[in-house]
Symmetry: C2
Subunit: 314 residues, 2 copies
């Protein structure tokens, strides 16, 4: 391949990350800024900032449901600004290189495969555990171009409505949003907890880190919140194991900081639920690229599609 | 390819089906018998009965969790006799042709792809709706060699224990077993229903067909049972859509006879739950090969693996 670098973009609800990445998956330059309503201008500026010489193409990982046929974003609840606009075509015209679009968690899964924790696995499911829960699936060493919205798998069909429209989604029980909502609700009810004293007394500013810290100090409520969320995550992991029987489940996102309580509980619960032989064949491990997985994966998409001679779709 | 035929075997908990199938997926000879505890002898006899001239190989679709690495069946709750025995190697030695092993619902999915309702789809999920619920996944025209145990995805994390060890599995709510259990429980409680008069008064012999017939005659309990089961199926279908975003969901198995109530309810429920854009892109249709899908698919496995030069694994 003549061009050694591609640009990988990770456009989530909160942050925009752009990196210049080698064919081997190494980041040579990168920037991070807040996601903006002016998505297109913000993307163009960031690409220009990072670009250096000729590039093979641009890979775009965007939070949301991807319309692969038309290279658009069907819907992106946390980033409405990208819905319906023709990002791919626009960027392609601007920079005159191939542009490829994927879901952000899918791109992160590919990143982990190329140069992260998934390098030695032929099949794995990546789950991103943050405000929401996303997923990406690698099978026979390749990214499955499917929605992989594992966070919006119902695990309690008759329970709470999810903002996505479904009922009882995994994300409603196992995400940071779920943990914080539960903490606030319990504190409002008057439950005793050292969480009351954190965030200068404003319980509405509690973060998952606060909950984990309080749990390590022995706070009962915080431990329970983490364990309950972990248990729900375990149900989701068991479902993914029973359906996709991967070699590994790779966990990414801010919540894996609470590994010792939250993830351990998830592993315990999944071990009780998944088919024994499938559970015994799966490794449940943390991501190794962390926040870089998305940009690395998006850039890798470019090299892979070009190698396979896949035409960008627009 | 020199050898035009392969033998496809569908070994479920109840029936053993063996067919001689062309490379185009057409059955030229077939037999069906009850599954027997003497699995190996029974297979050998049936193969000899159907075999005609030279064959390219033998494909074996077996109900259960498949150990693809070693060509064995990890576990098969409805057919314990196949667990742990080296069927693949045994049959290969006996007939001196390549033998390939798959899960029965996976084989059925491949059958539908080769010459059934899935022929024109590049990606679909097949769900077999019978005593239990099985699944098979086709992606980019190929069978994913994963467990695809969609029936053992938990949709009610805190509810009823499933015989598989998990809690709240789809199969506990949407299968024939679930419908019958619910009918019996309600009748035992004294619920009014014309089902009481069926099966010569023995409610323990009620079949899904009886329930569907009674529902068509306006029986309230029967309609409710079918609708509730359909609703649960819809939750499972929505989960599969949100995770795998297939072009189609193909429904197979005895229960699709109750399409007008059971499946219609499932489609309605899935439409409320799955991401709208994904639901709008999916077709939910019946299998066209019916009971033949398994043998056709198992035989197709032989042609595909040989074409790809895949070595049988033993």
């Amino acid at each position: 391949m003549s061009k050694k670098y591609a640009i990988g973009i990770d456009l989530g609800g909160t942050n925009l990350r752009v990196a210049l990445v080698s064919a081997e998956g190494e980041i040579v330059r990168k920037i991070k800024r807040s996601s903006s309503e002016q998505v297109f201008d913000s993307l163009v500026e960031s690409i220009e900032e990072v670009k250096h010489g000729e590039i093979a193409g641009i890979g775009l990982g965007v939070a949301g449901i991807i319309d692969r046929k038309n290279g658009r974003v069907f819907s992106s609840p946390n980033l409405r600004a990208v819905e319906g606009i023709d990002l791919v075509h626009g960027i392609q015209r601007k920079f005159n290189v191939p542009v490829f679009l994927e879901n952000d968690a899918n791109a992160a899964a590919l990143g982990e495969k190329v140069s992260g924790a998934g390098k030695n696995f032929e099949s794995f499911v990546l789950l991103t555990l943050g405000t929401g829960i996303g997923g990406g699936i690698i099978h026979k060493g390749e990214l499955l171009d499917v929605a992989a919205e594992a966070g919006h798998m119902s695990i309690n069909a008759e329970a709470d409505k999810c903002p996505c429209g479904n009922i009882g989604c995994l994300e409603n029980y196992a995400s940071a949003r779920a943990m914080i909502a539960r903490a606030v609700a319990m504190l409002e009810k008057g439950t005793e907890s050292i969480l009351k004293e954190c965030c200068k007394g404003s319980i509405y500013k509690i973060t998952p880190e606060d909950i984990y810290k309080a749990a390590l100090e022995g706070d009962t409520l915080s431990r329970e919140i983490l364990r309950e969320a972990g248990k729900a995550l375990g149900v989701g992991i068991a479902n993914m194991i029973n359906v996709l029987s991967p070699e590994a489940i790779i966990l990414a996102g801010g919540l894996i900081g609470a590994w010792n309580i939250y993830v351990q509980e998830a592993i315990r619960e999944a071990s009780r639920r998944a088919f024994k032989d499938l559970f015994d064949s799966v490794k449940i491990i943390p991501s190794s690229l962390g926040d870089e997985a998305g940009t690395v994966g998006a850039a890798s998409l470019v090299f892979m599609k070009i190698e396979k001679n896949t035409q960008p779709r627009f």
